[in-house]
Symmetry: C2
Subunit: 143 residues, 2 copies
Amino acid sequence: MNEYDALKLKNQLCFPLYAVSKEITRMYKPFLDPINLTYTQYITMMVLWENDGLNVKTLGEKLYLDSGTLTPLLKKLEQQGIVTRTRHKENERNVTINVTPKGYALREDALKVPEQIVKCLHLEPEEGAMLYKILYKLLDQSK
Amino acid sequence: MNEYDALKLKNQLCFPLYAVSKEITRMYKPFLDPINLTYTQYITMMVLWENDGLNVKTLGEKLYLDSGTLTPLLKKLEQQGIVTRTRHKENERNVTINVTPKGYALREDALKVPEQIVKCLHLEPEEGAMLYKILYKLLDQSK
DNA sequence: TACAATTAAATTGTAAACAATTTAATTGTA
DNA sequence: TACAATTAAATTGTTTACAATTTAATTGTA
């Protein structure tokens, strides 16, 4: 229509991505509050539950987060008694993160979270699959 | 496969959404740095360029942001001389945001940002259109 | 008209998020 | 072996982001 069309919010792909991401994070809050995790702590625990004993760097690669975000977050999880942080003996530059028994107990409580979220997202299965595929295509590009 | 499958990162739709959103925001940085805007400031200016004279509440509805985020952000834009913030005479609860001439001059510089971003995102046109459609479907649900 | 309820911004407090720098350990090489 | 280069975490500083609360203005109603 006019010369500034490229700068209209409705013509951006980044904006609905940004807004939906925030809204979904907010949607998790009432389900994560009872188990005392924030959204970022929750996805961090997901990776650790699957992969105990990762170091900060590898954890960051999987989550697309750096040590500036992870170090304080992991210290909070440590304070809660959910993980331990120990310098690796062989290479003291690495810090190994381990899930404690309390951390594994939390996994049981967390099991009900995904099903509650699915109920809130009203997408056709094909739409969900398509969204997933396109997002990972984009994510793979930034590696 | 096993009882904890629902808690695997690869089985979440939220995670690639969250990660892609962050990566794209990061991708904007080198293009926004020269015009002295952060990503959030940039999309805020997009709305204001299109719609001068909005109040904080309406701006927040369009951007899915609250006054806790917008107030300090708008103060920074005011300090840069890009917008003005004035209490509305008729209803002093409202603060009206106006774009200054300097703010409109910035719009000219911002024009080149979208084309630079498009070059970085390697998506088929149909994929982009599909992504856009699904994201707005989700966004409309959270209203 | 009084005053309760509502509303819009701002404020407070906490947790991300990340760029840039620093620290300490390890590795590579002259 | 010395020491430069690299690497992994941690730290510093700035900006978001949002829940919860506060402040001040307006609106509704008894």
